[in-house]
Symmetry: C3
Subunit: 247 residues, 3 copies
């Protein structure tokens, strides 16, 4: 049983955060909110999204799981204006999701959850550095690095108390340093890892420019990217596996 009303904006944000990694996903409809965990086919990027019942205008669920085609649901959500509400109701018998937007009814066939790639276990990592940074600074670093290279190093220099980004191309290089004054927060410990820019570009698409984003970093360890959605009543966690350093 699942019946909920949610703002079009919150629904779009939720779907966009997952669709940057996968085309279809399982959605857990728990009593206190929804959770989506997914990993991309190459096992390089993971997402763990939670949206609490408070993020909805109304919410009733009792613990089922549904399989969803994300781009189809994004198209439907795209029919709503930003202020509009979207009503969702699961028909248990037909395994279809009924979606209503201001009189418009859309019946979406769901996917058998067993046919969707298994959900990942989000690794519990003890990472040496934590950086809190504005979404727009991540965007800048990713865009500039993309001009010269297809990978990017993120690091923290504990003694100089700064977060840095390095991208080395065949002829040109990009380097960005942000000090504690330019960051929202920094818990410094030496850290540096290399990542695929392709994945980071996709994840970056889901990060709002004005979000407070928490990055957790280690030495040749996965990167954790965490930011709130739905005015704090939901959260997105991306985990990105490192590339082997080439130097």
């Amino acid at each position: 049983m699942f019946k909920a009303i949610v703002s079009a904006e919150t629904l779009k944000t939720t779907l966009d955060s997952v669709s940057v990694l996968v085309d279809e996903c399982k959605v857990h409809l728990d009593e206190d909110g929804i959770e989506i965990r997914a990993v991309d086919p190459a096992n390089v990027g993971m997402v763990d999204l939670r949206l609490s019942a408070e993020a909805f205008e109304s919410y009733e669920a009792d613990g089922g799981v549904i399989g969803v085609n994300l781009s189809r649901l994004e198209d439907i959500a795209g029919m709503a204006d930003s202020g509009q509400l979207v009503e969702l109701e699961l028909d248990e018998e037909t395994r279809k999701l009924h979606i209503q937007i201001d009189g418009l009814e859309y019946t979406l066939a769901l996917i058998d959850p067993d046919s969707i790639r298994q959900e990942p276990d989000i690794p519990d990592l003890d990472l040496s550095a934590e950086v809190v940074i504005e979404g727009k600074d991540i965007n800048r670093a990713v865009k500039a690095s993309d001009m010269v290279s297809d990978h990017i190093a993120l690091g923290v220099d504990a003694s100089d108390e700064l977060f840095y980004v390095d991208a080395e191309g065949d002829t040109d290089d990009v380097h960005l340093e942000l000090t504690t004054e330019q960051l929202i927060d920094l818990q410094a410990g030496d850290a540096r890892s290399l990542f695929s820019l392709d994945y980071l570009k996709d994840m970056n698409k889901a990060i709002p420019a004005d979000a407070e984003v928490t990055l957790e970093l280690g030495e040749e360890f996965p990167l954790k990217i965490k930011f709130p959605i739905a005015e704090g009543q939901g959260s997105v966690l991306f985990v990105l596996a490192p590339r082997i350093q080439s130097d």
Copy 2:
């Protein structure tokens, strides 16, 4: 003899309403205004456009017919800013149309009207239901239906006094109901017909979001779509042939 001055906006609206169906058309230059009738190559969609002399800043004509390449004339009209006036003058001898926009002179070669597909007879149909609806509601119905199917059913339920749209796809469905409160007007009689979404999408492009659009519907009958242009001093009528019902 034809000599007229018209606002760029009115000219663009006129051309766009016809170019959604055909590439070239005959334009009747009558004493009291212009008329364009055209049918697409597959004989599925027709347009009958009238623009009275009052829609022009100045208008003189004595009953000729010219053949026009619509996209070329649209390109020229596109050179004018929205507030600007476009001067049109026919050179009977050379069969060219002289177009002036703020000092810019464009000489457009006309097409021999006899080489253009014959104009259709607009069928005089007695249809059972009439719906007056805002242009933006048609847009919504067409966009949503296009996500799931390539045809769309439009109907009126006389007993429940509502207008509805149905689109059935292989897995997903779209349904929209508008009651008398959500419509501008409804003269109910049972009606339902199936249409090609491709044609309706093209016609929809020509319908302003804020227009009051009159739809006339029957049981397995053509659809009539009528809306005013040029602040009521012109009108567009589309007629769309039904598809054979597949159910």
Copy 3:
């Protein structure tokens, strides 16, 4: 030695004015400002751009020459918001240009100037007519002419005191006349030359709509197009070779 700070806007304008003709160029870093001269591979269009030291926030140079990949430098400049400053510093040893935008450091490999096509001698022509015209009127003439033809005639009628544009297509023609009242200035002498529209379209892209543009014209002679940049502290001169008249 070269070290300068310039607004992102001035840098972009400078690069765009040259990149419409060539992909890479030599930049002369003189004591009193920079100069760029370039000619396209077909020897049809030339540019001579000067930007005085006063156009920079700060400027130090002692006469070197660097070779630059324009699109790469345009991409970097594009990372800056319109109000931001761009810091440029030449590393003589590595032959790299260090570019800083609000903490973001970009290291750009330069091109060996000897590998870049030789700079043209800008011809010293005594042309019979001079027209001062708004950039947006050039844009209009070029756009309209492009609808009908791939070449364009520019001329001055000395007795009628007007500047005109003619484009003749296979079926349609465009003609534009601007009198002394519609021009900013006209020093009339009979002139008429035919030009390739492709080149003029590219040059037009670099001309601001609100610029006062000086055109110098002769009879079957090259066209000179001159306009100020950086609030008058720089200038761009395009020279366009005529096509042989076909009439």
